[in-house]
Each structure stands twice: as structure tokens, then as C-alpha cells.
């Protein structure tokens, strides 16, 4: 339901989710905080959804800002 064409950044907490949304948006990358889809389980119930074509850019931004994250899931 989250839709093909998207990827999800899985994070350890809501604070991480908010921080990553802030820095990713500041880079002009379109994203949205959504509940973690049922089929994916994490410690945090919120993930950052973004277009999968922005994956590289997003990874760079997250790394540059030293934000801890669990993994990135690309929706097939």
C-alpha cells in the first residue's frame, strides 16, 4: 500500500524520524513520515518514505548528519 517507486528509511526512534525528515527536507528531497507498514517490523512505528530514485542523495544526507538508522527498504 505504501506504493512501488518508494523506499523507506527505518529508524530507531520517533526523534530520529523527525530529525531525518528535517535534514532530508532541507536538502529539497521530497519525503513523508508514515507509519511503519505492517509487513516490516522495527522498534519505531514511524518511517520516512521517499522516492527510490532519491536513495543515494538521501543516504548521503543521513550520513553527513550522522543520523543513526536501521536500514533502507525499497518497495518492489
Amino acid at each position: 500500500m505504501t506504493g512501488a517507486g518508494y523506499a523507506l528509511l527505518l529508524l530507531p526512534s520517533v526523534s530520529h524520524a523527525l530529525l531525518s525528515e528535517k535534514v532530508v527536507k532541507a536538502e529539497g528531497i521530497s519525503c513523508k513520515l508514515i507509519p511503519t507498514p505492517r509487513e516490516i517490523s522495527t522498534d519505531c512505528g514511524i518511517v520516512l518514505r521517499f522516492l527510490k530514485e532519491d536513495k543515494k542523495r538521501l543516504e548521503n544526507v543521513i550520513e553527513e548528519n550522522g543520523i543513526d538508522f536501521k536500514r533502507i527498504v525499497v518497495i518492489q
Partner: protein, 200 residues
């Protein structure tokens, strides 16, 4: 003889109150002049809820709502009734009274309410009506983090009622970006006719 009453410039619930009083008195051929289209729609909706015919005509100085005798066979009334028929027995109504979901932590509450509206757009069963009042109206104005989801819900037929008094109180009347300005008559009727009332 059709009587015309001037309610131009009167605040939000007054024109509806005027219509209510006239209908209670048994009048069934009169017009009410109002300044805004929202007010005109609210008066018309109220008349329809009493099964009276009503129509809006735009005039040079605002809008005229002409209310006639009960005429359930009239086309627009039928249409309105048909639209409501599906859910009239048990409409699901949701109330949003702040920009946060739950109490305890403001930041968490704001994230949760964004997650909630996203989820509503994906659910098979969405509410029939969402009523926004007090701090909840902030979610319906420009800059709201849930505008995209609310627009999607509205497109899918969810009615979004936004308290006009509340918008005015926060100075946000001109910033409304989604939903329809409503008054306490419509809001109270919606709440009390709900089959299921969901408060978050």
C-alpha cells in the same frame, strides 16, 4: 408573499439561526440575504435538513438563499438525500480537537496525527465526516502537515467540517485550505446523528 430578510454581515451562526427561527414559526416561503457563499451553503443545508427546498442565487451584494415549502420530490433534495442514504443510519464521525493525537508529549502527538491521517487515506473504511474544532482547525489551514492527506480524503468523499468560530478565533479564516466552514448547528447535528463517534 415571499419575505426577504437581510443577514448580510452577521457572524457565522446567525443566518442559520434566523432560518431555524422562521422555519420553527412555520414560515415556508422566504429568502435570507447573506454575505458569503459558506453562509449561504450552511443556510441551504439547514433548510434541506428540515426537508425544505432551498436554493442559492448569487447577487451583486452577496447571496440570496430562497427557502420554500417542504418538497422532498425536488431534484436537488433527492440528490442530497440519496447521497446521505448510504450512511444516514450510522455515519462514522471523527472529531479532531487539536493538532496532536493524544496527550502526554506534544512532539509525539504531532507525529502520531500525521501518521493517523496518512493511514486513513489507505484504509478501506474511512469516516463519513471529520469535524475539526478548537485547536484542530489548525490542521485544515495553509502550512498544515496533513493537507495532502486531507485533500485526498475529501476527494474520496469524506466530508470535512471546520468550525468557523474557531478559525476566526485563531485569525485563520482566510487561510483555510481544505474542508468547509461550518457552524455549531451543523457540527452539533453531525455529532448527535453519528452512528459511531471517534475521538482521537
Amino acid at each position: 408573499m415571499s419575505e426577504i430578510y437581510n443577514a448580510r454581515g452577521l457572524p457565522c451562526p446567525k443566518p442559520v439561526l434566523m432560518a431555524k427561527n422562521f422555519l420553527d414559526e412555520g414560515k415556508n416561503d422566504f429568502s435570507i440575504l447573506v454575505s458569503g457563499s459558506d453562509q449561504a451553503e450552511n443556510v441551504m443545508k439547514f433548510a434541506h435538513s428540515r426537508k425544505h427546498s432551498a436554493e442559492i442565487v448569487e447577487t451583486n451584494e452577496g447571496f440570496r438563499v430562497s427557502i420554500g415549502a417542504p418538497a422532498p420530490s425536488m431534484k436537488h433534495v433527492e440528490k442530497s438525500v440519496q447521497k446521505q442514504e448510504k450512511t444516514i443510519s450510522s455515519p462514522v464521525v471523527m472529531t479532531i480537537t487539536s493538532c496532536e493525537m493524544g496527550f502526554g508529549d506534544k512532539v509525539l502527538g504531532e507525529v502520531l496525527i500525521r501518521a493517523l491521517f496518512h493511514t486513513l487515506t489507505e484504509m478501506d473504511e474511512s469516516p463519513d465526516t471529520i469535524v475539526f474544532y478548537n485547536g484542530g482547525v489548525r490542521l485544515t489551514v495553509e502550512g498544515s502537515p496533513v493537507l495532502e492527506d486531507l485533500s485526498a480524503l475529501e476527494k474520496n468523499g469524506v466530508e470535512l467540517l471546520v468550525c468557523g468560530t474557531c478559525l476566526g478565533h485563531f485569525g485563520l479564516t482566510d487561510s483555510l485550505a481544505v474542508g468547509r466552514v461550518s457552524n455549531m448547528y451543523a457540527i452539533a447535528e453531525t455529532l448527535f446523528s453519528a452512528g459511531k463517534l471517534v475521538t482521537v
